[in-house]
């Protein structure tokens, strides 16, 4: 299956931002498949300007999660390249790629993927630890972010937090290292309409505040109105 993106153009403001700084994300000629089957990902070109927010749509199985994993460098493409913040992710190898991902890319998952047994603060601090931040800086930054996102019980284990609070912790963790790019994989799929709206407000506002570009993969049509630019994987 060949995936062809159809896009709506960026707004004039986003275009100006894009002109003044290197792309947060640039994908070129990206192709991927499992084994000898059809291409799951066949993406000729995709760029996100710094701070730009793009909705990645498509039906289930269209390869949205796989594309995000390719962009994050968790899976290697068969062809093409992915540049984040001007760096070719797949040219980096081993620990250099892991460190780059920790420092420049934030990820938000449908089920949050918070580490059980760790507190809200510790979940955020983990991201900062792996990005190479000193312990004192980790704590200060984590506490500040959690307060900004309305988490008062930073010492509570994440298992004790409500779903909404877990979502906030997941967002705090994703933006903790001031990433250039945040990848959100179906962030509202497990939430009702009201909470989905709150969660998206949170994610988009956090990305705006930190200046991170946002690529949000979702098959939820209700999110379309939130993004001026959409990319569809068909």
């Amino acid at each position: 299956m060949t995936t062809s993106p159809s896009t709506t153009p960026a707004s004039p403001r986003e275009s100006r931002d894009a002109a003044s700084a290197p792309s947060a994300l640039r994908v070129a000629g990206l192709r991927f498949r499992y084994g000898p089957g059809p291409w799951i990902i066949d993406l000729a070109e995709l760029s996100l300007a710094p701070g730009e927010q793009v909705l990645l749509t498509g039906r289930s199985g269209s390869g949205k999660s796989t594309l995000l994993q390719l962009i994050a460098g968790l899976v290697d493409p068969l062809q093409g390249s992915v540049e984040v913040d001007g760096r070719n992710v797949h040219a980096l190898s081993g620990s250099a790629r892991d460190l780059f991902r920790g420092q420049r890319i934030g990820m938000i998952f449908q089920t949050f993927q918070l580490l059980p047994g760790f507190t809200a603060r510790e979940n955020v601090m983990l991201a900062l630890l792996f990005a190479g931040r000193a312990p004192r800086e980790q704590r200060e930054r984590a506490d500040r972010l959690l307060v900004e996102l309305g988490i008062e019980r930073a010492d509570a284990a994440v298992d004790e937090l409500s779903v909404g609070q877990q979502q906030r912790v997941a967002v705090a963790r994703a933006v903790a290292c001031n990433p250039s790019l945040v990848l959100a994989d179906e962030p509202t799929a497990s939430l009702d309409c009201e909470n989905a709206g709150i969660a998206m407000d949170l994610i988009q506002e956090s990305c705006r505040r930190t200046g991170a570009a946002l690529l949000c993969a979702s098959h939820d049509p209700a999110l379309a109105a939130r993004f001026t630019r959409k990319v569809s994987l068909t």
Partner: protein, 433 residues
């Protein structure tokens, strides 16, 4: 947040399994440490026990039994030596000392050694020094007794206290009354009270268990038994009633003259060979017999060490199983950590460190248990064999056992660490799109 905090969280999240694993490792470490320590302490104690004696004469069945009975007080020697034989041996050579000893009575399980003042004044229980008094004085008259440090501590007898010796290896007064023949064989000499006149400083040797008294008192005790058995109307016995057949001993401690600063005598082999020609006695060189004993038990010794090593390997395997079994549940956690920027090598080292930490915790707990085990084993040996040992674990054994445990635990962690290293990230993040 640090790597150590992550590891501790991980261990705490599986607390029961962690505790069981640490206990398994600790038991193996404790066993190994106890064996190594007791082995060395036992060797030291055996060597130290013979003191400055060069030769031991007895009428026991073999030189080894002679040393076990005469030096370590394992049992009362069965066969006596006539006093005339002692006089003959003493006069044939200018010994540094020739000390007669008589064993057979006891007090609450502590052997009573009847001897001469030479035992307290010339014999050295430890090459480092002679007997020293903690309080009181040495015996000067019949029916005075000097207590070894251990005997004094366990019996709680003070200076001036009186006691009755029991004929035989010991038993309570209650246990002996009205038991027919047993009472006769293992009875209390109530006619002759002994008075405690001195208490010795500890020497760290089997002699600390002794009650030391003079020979004549013991001869009178047994002469009275003989006379009372023949005539029940006899109520007392004195030295005037002693016959030559009452003057019996069970051992002679001999030391040859040596040059200053030397513990070895050039004439020992010659005297040893001459004494051995007398078939009525057994002559033993204590050090030689102790070496012989070690060579007999050496293979068992090595077998125990090998078994302890196998148990240690078992401890390592328990770490491997504990970590490997937890890997399935941790795949998602590892995948998330990878997404957050944790490298494969860092994951590998986290698991390896966790494994080594389990080993370290096991070693720490094991060393503690081992030290307690050494004290318990020493107490058991003292009670059962009369072997007074000082279980001071050598620092190098502590370091070697702890290091070996950590290395073993690290090796055991390699397979789980490799499993963690190879965890596929994308597959373990729930697919959403």
């Amino acid at each position: 947040m640090t790597e150590l905090a992550i590891i501790l969280k991980s261990l705490r999240s599986r607390l029961f399994l962690t505790i069981i694993t640490v206990i398994t490792v600790a038991v193996s470490v404790a066993l190994m440490l106890t064996l190594l320590t007791m082995r060395e302490a036992g060797h030291d104690a055996f060597r130290r026990g013979s003191g400055t004696t060069h030769l031991l004469v007895s009428a026991d069945s073999s030189p080894l039994v002679s040393v076990l009975n005469g030096v370590f007080y394992a049992n009362a020697p069965r066969n006596p030596i006539p006093w005339a034989k002692y006089e003959e041996i003493r006069s044939r050579f200018p010994w540094d000392f020739a000390i007669p000893t008589q064993l057979g009575d006891s007090y609450r399980g502590h052997p009573a050694l009847a001897t001469t003042r030479d035992f307290l004044e010339k014999f050295q229980p430890d090459p480092r020094g002679r007997f020293e008094l903690a309080s009181g004085r040495f015996f000067e008259a019949p029916f005075e007794v000097v207590l070894g440090a251990e005997a004094a501590r366990e019996s709680r007898l003070k200076l001036g206290a009186t006691l009755f010796l029991t004929h035989g290896s010991g038993g309570s007064r209650e246990g002996m009354e009205g038991e027919g023949e047993h009472a006769h064989a293992d009875h209390e000499h109530t006619e002759f009270p002994y008075t405690v006149v001195g208490i010795l400083e500890p020497t760290g040797t089997p002699h600390d268990r002794l009650l030391i008294t003079d020979l004549e008192s013991t001869w009178i005790l047994h002469a009275h038994d003989r006379r009372h058995h023949a005539d029940h109307s006899i109520s007392t016995t004195t030295s005037a009633d002693l016959l030559e057949s009452d003057r019996l001993i069970t051992g002679i401690l001999l030391r040859l003259p040596t040059r200053p600063g030397s513990a070895v005598s050039a004439g020992m082999q010659q005297q040893f060979d001459q004494l051995r020609r007398d078939t009525s006695i057994v002559v033993a060189q204590p050090e030689q017999q102790i070496d012989k004993l070690f060579s007999i038990v050496g293979s068992i010794d090595r077998l125990f060490i090998a078994m302890a090593a196998v148990v240690m390997v078992g401890g390592g395997i328990s770490i491997l199983l504990a970590l490997a079994s937890s890997m399935e549940a941790r795949r998602r956690q590892i995948a998330v950590m990878r997404v957050l920027g944790c490298s494969q090598m860092r994951i590998f080292s986290l698991v390896l460190t966790e494994s080594a930490l389990l080993g370290l915790l096991g070693a720490a707990v094991g060393i503690t248990i081992g030290l307690i085990g050494c004290l318990v084993t020493a107490a058991i040996l003292r009670q059962t064999l009369g072997l007074v040992i000082e279980p001071n674990p050598r620092l190098h054994w502590l370091v070697i056992v702890a290091a070996a445990t950590v290395v073993l635990a690290g090796l055991a962690g390699v397979i789980p660490a490799a499993m963690a290293y190879r965890t596929p990230v994308a597959r373990n993040l729930r697919p959403i799109g």
